[in-house]
Structure formats: structure tokens, C-alpha cells
Subunit: 363 residues, 2 copies
């Protein structure tokens, strides 16, 4: 049996945790004086500091930073290999003067964890995106020299101006040259007014279920529209949450492009690579979509050889702490089985073989 | 051969056009003094008044208001029956004191057009949502008495507070009792800052391809989360653009609900009807998704007996005016063929038989 590989699984490594614990502003780990009993809470967005006590940040336990907890989780769910990535908001918030050094420290700490669990763990490194471009490029090249690093995790902000910012071109070029996979992951969501009145009645459902996927979809569509995949034809991107909503909306995006008078006038309709071409040549999708309907669309859009299993651990823990297996994991596993019926070979591809091949996990 | 039916096709009937031409604020039809040559332009959102001349509103020709143009378009594309609906923003903007009367005038005008083209045209009526609730309910009942009316077109604003506003309950109750289908259509999109810098470089692609679908997805998810489909189990809603992104995101929405501590504490997780149940019992989806990938997801989510062909005419005209057939229409037709391979019976269901059955177009 080929291994089961989790390509979407997060950690805040100890080196980063110390920084987050020492900080006095978002993002940080803190106690709330009026609710000390709930313990340390991780706050990663300004809006999470307000509101009712349960809505303020989230409890942060060892599953966020202890590598032994990651291994325990993997064993409980039959996961052989995890490709861990730092969770949002990565180093997007770091002062430019400190970013390059902090990226090295944090990436080395993750690399150490992988070495200590040789064969079980690989990782996606993190870039000091606020630093000078040449420092970012240098960290790209350095990451390639780390034995367990297979790519780079990145949010949608880039250098604060989105991923279609032309100032990122030297960084894309370096990533393409080093053959590192970019794992594109949402963090910023959508402004809360988008979800309308009474949003609070629905817990975190609307921003989590809709804000995150749309953030990813907008970011990758901007990359496509700005021609990044025309300039860097070998750049490879793994999209979180099965592409946000890209597989479903790709037809509408192509139709909107084909009908846009402005783009036509600018000569931008002909000659570009289509969303479909990019989906099949530059994009990989994780299988974190929780149902066969979405997963089948992801497979249809990119091809079953480009889909890779993931869990989003340690997020989405079971509400009933006594559960052995996490519903968020088993529903993603069931979705693969349901989507593929009895095609066990393709099931194994998605569960692990694709990741082994794409990320060279046997080298 | 069963008829081909277009369930997503818009008009601004002459009675409404006179109002829009006479108005001095959005929404309205106007000339721009610095660009008189471009003729009458329809402006339906405040943001459309600013920016470059080509971005200001859109040219409005007879295809928006002349019924003969609708028939000509239908003939050119082999469409036997159209179920027309007023285009956005409907009567959402009307002063409460005038709304009820205006709804009657406008709905009667559309009914007249259908009568004059007996057998070719049916319609979805429009409600005076800003009027007193009892006046809205009265218009629901009156619409049911119109020979060619089969449902109600509606935006996501409701009475200004979204469709999960409890003040809408008497209206949903009346619609359910009268067995009218609600055609839920986006208009308001998302705030432009959501799309980030350089959005203008991409024409209207981002707001049209992403803002509209997400608006619909949020609106219907709020309806589900607020329990509307638990209170009105026979309420039926047709979602524009194949549900926005609902088929793709339904798994994630269900997972977010199942993992939400707030909803659990409030006792809102157990006992509710799931998104999947609602998709298969209360929701119909049009087939306006422009690719087989999205259409297959729509079919997987709701069932092939709940999908109905549409065009979105007169929007998305070909950029090259000499085209006989509109790409926006042929791509939706090709998507049906591609999604169903050689299953001609199901193809005919989606192209027309479902609409005939659901909307009683043979009675």
C-alpha cells in the first residue's frame, strides 16, 4: 500500500510560539483577564478580540505546537506522512527589519522537527514577505537546501498588495527555478459586513465556509488574470480547500473574460492561457472539501493526478472531545471513497501517491 | 421533442423603463453629457456612475425592453419558451409609498407581454418588498391569479435586512401557500475592496464572476441557517447561476456547522434539515454555469431533475456583434451535452422538461 499523505496540516513551531506569546498585539497568544479560566487563546485577526468570550480567539493547546501531538494525530488516523506548514498569518505581520531573520529561525525550527521524525514529516517553508525582495529570494534559495522542505506556504496578501503585485515577479521566478510548490492558503477572509446582519447568530459558519474559499478564489484568479502563469509557466501552486471555489467558478470566470469589452480593448483575451489550462498544468488542489460533490468537481477541473489528501489539522477538532477520529478527517476520507466509487488505484493516488510524486517524498 | 425552456432571462418591461428614464438617481437610464454618442446607459449600482466612460453603466438597447427582441433571440437559439423575469434591482429601491402600486403596474405589463406571445412566454413576478408586509402578501396572492405568472424573482436584500429577516416570514408563508417558485438572483455583489488593488485592470471579471455567485451563496446559506426551510418545508427556490457556489461549498458549510461551538451551545446543530436535504427538496438550480465541471456539481448536489436551462439574456452579449449565436448561450448548451455525455433523456429534462413540470408550463 502506498502511504497516506496529509498535505494540508498546520503547526506553530516552538520558535514562532515564543514570539507570539511575547507580543502585545495581533497576532498573539494571550490570556483574557475576564476569562482566565479558558487559558491561553490564539488571536490571529483584529476582529477576534471583540465580542463574546467564546468568540475571542481560540483556545490553543499542544496540538498547535507540539510535534508529538501531530504524530499522535497521524497515527490515530492512519496518516503515514504529513507535510506541515505554518498556520496563518505566517510572517505577513512581521516588521520588515526582523522578517528575514525570523523566517530563518522559524523555518529551521520546522526543519528540525521533520528531522527528528525522519520519514514521517516534511514541510512547506515560510517567506519573510515584508523584507527586501532580495532577502525573500535568498530565503527561497535557502529553503531549497533544507532536506525536508518541499515548498512554500503563502497567504493571499503577498507584500501587502496581493499576489498579482508585479513586485513579486523576482520571487515567483526564484520559486519556479527552485521547483518549490507554493501552498496558497487563505487568512484574511472577507470584511464582516459582506455576511450581513445576524451573522453572529450563525457562529463562525459564514466567514469560515464562504470567506476563506472566496479569498483563495480571488487571489488565484488575480494571479491568472495578471498573467503570472504566462510569465512563469512552470510555477506550481497547491490551492487550499480544493481551490476555494475555483473548480466550480472556472467556467463563469472564462465566460466573463470572453465577454469583457475592457479586456478585449486591451488585447488581453486572445493568447492568454485559460483558467482550464492553468488548472491542469500549474495548479494542484488539496482534497479538503468535505463532500464528494466538491471533490468530483476538483477532480474534473484539475485531474485526479493533481488532487492530494489533507486534514487542516489542528483546526476543526471534534466538538465532543471524546471522539477518537476527527469528523473533519473522516468526512474528507469518505468524500474520496464516494467520489471514486471502487476505483482504488485513484483513491490511493489522492490519498498519497500524488503527493509522493509531486513532492518527491521518497527522495 | 420536448420544448427548450429558458428560465433565466430578463427584461425591463416598458412600464418600468418609463420610470427608470424619468428618474434622476440610481437605478436609472441616462445620457452622460460628456459621452452623448454612447447613447442611453443603464446604471443600476452607485459605483457604476464613476470611472472611465466605458465603465459607466452599460448601453441599453431594445433587447432590454422590446419583447420582439426576446422572441427574435429565442428563435435564433432554438428556445421554445422563456420564463422572463425583471432584471435587477427589481423594485428594491422604490419608495415604500409607491411600491405596491408600481409592482402591480409592472407585473401587469409583463403579463400583457406574455399574453401577446401566448405559449412562448411566462414570467416570474416582482414584489414590492419595501411596502407594508400585508401589501407584499397581497401582491403574492394577486400574482397567483395572473395566467402567465409562475413564480417571483427576488434579490438578496429582502426588506433591506437580508432574506433571513424574520419580518419576511408572512411573505414566505404566502409564497409557499400559493406554490410560487422564488427565483433568487444576485444584484448587490460584494464591496469592491474585497477584490483588492488593480481590480480595474481586469474589467468587470472579478465582481461579475465572483461577487455575484458569492452573494447568492451567502443569501441562501443564511436562509438555511435561520431555519426558513424548517419553517416552510414546501418553499421552493430557484438559484441563479447554478447556486452561486452552493453545490461546491455545501460540504464545507455542513462541516463548519458540525464543528461550531456556538451553534452547538444554542442547540442548533441537531434536528435541522441539512444543506444537502434542502438542496434536494427545496432548491432548483439553473444551468447558467458555462462549463460541464460546475454543471456536474450542480447535478450531483440537487439531482438532474432539479436543473433548468437558462441564458441570462440580454446580459453577456457577444463582443463581436456579428455573431449569430451568443457564446454565453452556446457554452451553457455545450456544458449540458458535455456533462451528460450521451444521455439524451436527461439532456432534454434539463433543457426543458424539468421546467415544464416544475412550472406547469403546459397548463
Amino acid at each position: 500500500m502506498p502511504p497516506t499523505v496529509d498535505v494540508h496540516t498546520h503547526m506553530y513551531p516552538p520558535a514562532l510560539m515564543s514570539v507570539l506569546r511575547a507580543r502585545k498585539a495581533v497576532p498573539y497568544v494571550r490570556l483574557f483577564p475576564d476569562d482566565v479560566a479558558s487559558g491561553d487563546r490564539l488571536v490571529i485577526l483584529p476582529a477576534e478580540e471583540t465580542g463574546s468570550t467564546t468568540a475571542r480567539g481560540r483556545p490553543i493547546g499542544p496540538e498547535y505546537y507540539e510535534v508529538s501531538e501531530k504524530i499522535k494525530f497521524m497515527d490515530a488516523h492512519g496518516i503515514d506522512i504529513s507535510v506541515v506548514s505554518i498556520a496563518n498569518p505566517w510572517l505577513d505581520w512581521v516588521d520588515p527589519s526582523e522578517a528575514a531573520a525570523m523566517a530563518r529561525i522559524v523555518n529551521d525550527d520546522v526543519e528540525r522537527m521533520c528531522r527528528e521524525h525522519h520519514g514521517r514529516l516534511y514541510h512547506f517553508g515560510t517567506l519573510p514577505l515584508s523584507a527586501a525582495v532580495e532577502d525573500v529570494v535568498e530565503e527561497v534559495r535557502r529553503l531549497k537546501t533544507l532536506s525536508y522542505c518541499r515548498g512554500i506556504v503563502m497567504g493571499t496578501s503577498g507584500r501587502g498588495e496581493g499576489l498579482d503585485d508585479p513586485r513579486l515577479d523576482p520571487i515567483w521566478e526564484a520559486i519556479e527555478q527552485q521547483q518549490l510548490l507554493v501552498f496558497l492558503h487563505p487568512h484574511y477572509g472577507l470584511p464582516s459586513e459582506v455576511f450581513g446582519p445576524r451573522t453572529g447568530d450563525y457562529g463562525h459558519v459564514l466567514p469560515l465556509a464562504m470567506g476563506f474559499p472566496l479569498e483563495t478564489t480571488i487571489a488565484v484568479t488575480r494571479m491568472i488574470l495578471s498573467g503570472i502563469f504566462d510569465r512563469f509557466v512552470d510555477l506550481n501552486v497547491l490551492l487550499a480547500h480544493s481551490g476555494g471555489t475555483l473548480p466550480f467558478l472556472a467556467g463563469r470566470i472564462e465566460s466573463c473574460i470572453a465577454h469583457d469589452a475592457h479586456l478585449k480593448k486591451e488585447g488581453k483575451i486572445e493568447g492568454r492561457r485559460s483558467v482550464w489550462e492553468v488548472l491542469k498544468k500549474n495548479i494542484y488542489l488539496d482534497a479538503v472539501v468535505y463532500a464528494d460533490v466538491g471533490l468530483k468537481a476538483a477532480i474534473d477541473a484539475s485531474g485526479a493526478d493533481r488532487i492530494m489528501f489533507g486534514t487542516d489539522h489542528p483546526f476543526f477538532p471534534p466538538l465532543d472531545e471524546k471522539e477518537d477520529k476527527w469528523l473533519s478527517v473522516t468526512s474528507n476520507m469518505s468524500a474520496i471513497k464516494a467520489a471514486l466509487k471502487n476505483d482504488q488505484a485513484t483513491e490511493q493516488d489522492i490519498l498519497g501517491s500524488n503527493a509522493v510524486r509531486v513532492l518527491r517524498l521518497n527522495s
